[in-house]
Amino acid sequence: MYSASDLKKGLKIEIDGDPCMITGFEFSKPGKGQSLYRCRIKNLITGNTFDKTYRSVEKVKRCALISRDYTFSYIDGHQYVFSDNETFEEVRLDDELLGDLKNFLVDDMQVEILFHNDRALDITLPNFVEMAIAETEPGARGDTTTNVAKPAKLANGYELNVPIFINEDDVIRIDTRTGQYADRVSKG
């Protein structure tokens, strides 16, 4: 259990069985009154955000989150299947949980999945992934300025902006944290 005075932004706690994260925190102490810890809390399952004020005598349940290493195996309809690196047990994540990250999965990619009581909450991909450009307007020859961007598409349909000198079949590095172009790996 946490004491209310341990609470801070970024801390993960459990409320009514659900994992939650403190996204906003403010210490407050009215006049001669008691210390109050005003939190903005995000439910990590539903995504809902709410405010809750704790008094200093209150205890807050710790949230037992475990993260394990997995290897990406295959896509099955709207589900993405990963196998546990130690037990080889499969886990299936819905595309909703993956969001844009599903576009950056490649065969045998090593990922980290975060669980709360066997419920998968979040996935972390390697920071950079190499992907080929499937579609983009041809760039002007010799123009290597990076501050001019144009739209491009990956084979899976994901769209992003790339510098003008990038052409179809070029392999680029994408930052999975931002979903944006990082640099060019090789020419197509």
Partner: protein, 296 residues
């Protein structure tokens, strides 16, 4: 703002504060910072310092001076409160306290209005443009009893049916945010007797105590009392507080017997504590103490 600029702004404020009190015949006093018996309050925790504590307020010493015949005194200095840290709190902060013999909390309010008007007017034009436009001319201040404020903003009257948890929660979640909407300073006055701290009960209504708090932009800036001068009641309040602190597992401080003895001779008096860091923050139009505590 650089550390030096921040300290220059503070220096200008300190000159202005001191000039205000000297003009009015106050004596500036210095009382001990490291003390054996900090004032016992339920939710104020003193920082230990060897076999003593750092003061949480100079209040008890000022009252001893009043008992010795002081008429108007003030002090500006560091006070310390353990565990208080936030955008409006810092465990080491600067407090201004002043006391007047033969006066009550409303006389202290007159001083406070004059003081705030003066520091507002004296502050540089740069700050005047930065802070929210707001009149602090003394005729504009909004005075609200705690009962009226709670009835209006929280839907109940704590006087006579005080519930500490509900009171504190509603104060920060409902009342203080409502006070932030006033574009003039707001004074909440006549607190439930249970929240009297070191103030006197109101002779005409013993359910409340003669205590006020000043809010500017919804930020609590000063706390004033018509001082409790009855040593028997003061001792009983300290002892009750000690008992509650024990239950909460908090340190119980020794009773300051010299203070209790001095209360026998203390005249009627009014006094106030004002947070100088918050005042500076409001003057320069900032909304966190980070702006005025450069080494925090």
């Amino acid at each position: 703002m650089s550390a030096l600029d921040s300290l220059k702004a503070r220096n200008a404020l300190m000159r202005c504060l001191r000039a205000f009190f000297f003009e009015r015949g106050f004596t500036e006093v210095e009382t001990p910072v490291r003390i054996p018996a900090p004032c016992m309050e339920l939710h104020i925790d003193a920082e230990p310092s060897g076999d003593c504590y750092l003061r949480t307020s100079p209040e008890l010493f000022h009252k001893r001076l009043l008992a010795e015949g002081a008429d108007r005194i003030f002090e500006v200095g560091k006070c310390f409160r353990a565990g208080e840290r936030g955008h409006l709190h810092h465990p080491e902060y600067t407090m201004l306290e002043w006391y007047r013999a033969h006066a009550g909390y409303m006389d202290i309010l007159d001083d406070t209005k004059a003081l705030i008007s003066k520091v507002w007017d004296d502050s540089s034009n740069v700050w005047k443009q930065k802070r929210k436009s707001r009149s602090v001319g003394s005729s504009d201040w909004k005075l609200l009893t705690v009962s009226d404020a709670f009835r209006e903003f929280a839907g109940w009257d704590p006087a006579g049916r005080y519930d500490e948890n509900r009171f504190d929660l509603d104060l920060v979640e409902k009342v203080e945010p409502a006070l932030a909407a006033f574009d003039v300073p707001v004074v909440l006055y006549d607190y439930p007797a249970e929240a009297a701290a070191l103030s006197r009960r109101k002779p005409s209504n013993p359910l409340v105590a003669e205590r006020w708090e000043l809010y500017i932009n919804g930020i609590e800036l000063a706390n004033a009392y018509t001082e409790l001068t009855d040593p028997t009641e003061q001792r009983a309040r300290f002892e009750e507080c000690a008992e509650k602190r024990k239950v909460l597992g908090k340190a119980v401080y020794p009773l300051d017997e010299e203070f209790l003895q001095a209360l026998e001779k203390m005249p009627a008096a009014g006094g106030v504590a004002l947070g100088v860091d918050r005042l500076l923050m409001l003057i320069i139009g900032a909304d966190t103490l980070d702006a005025v505590l450069p080494f925090r």
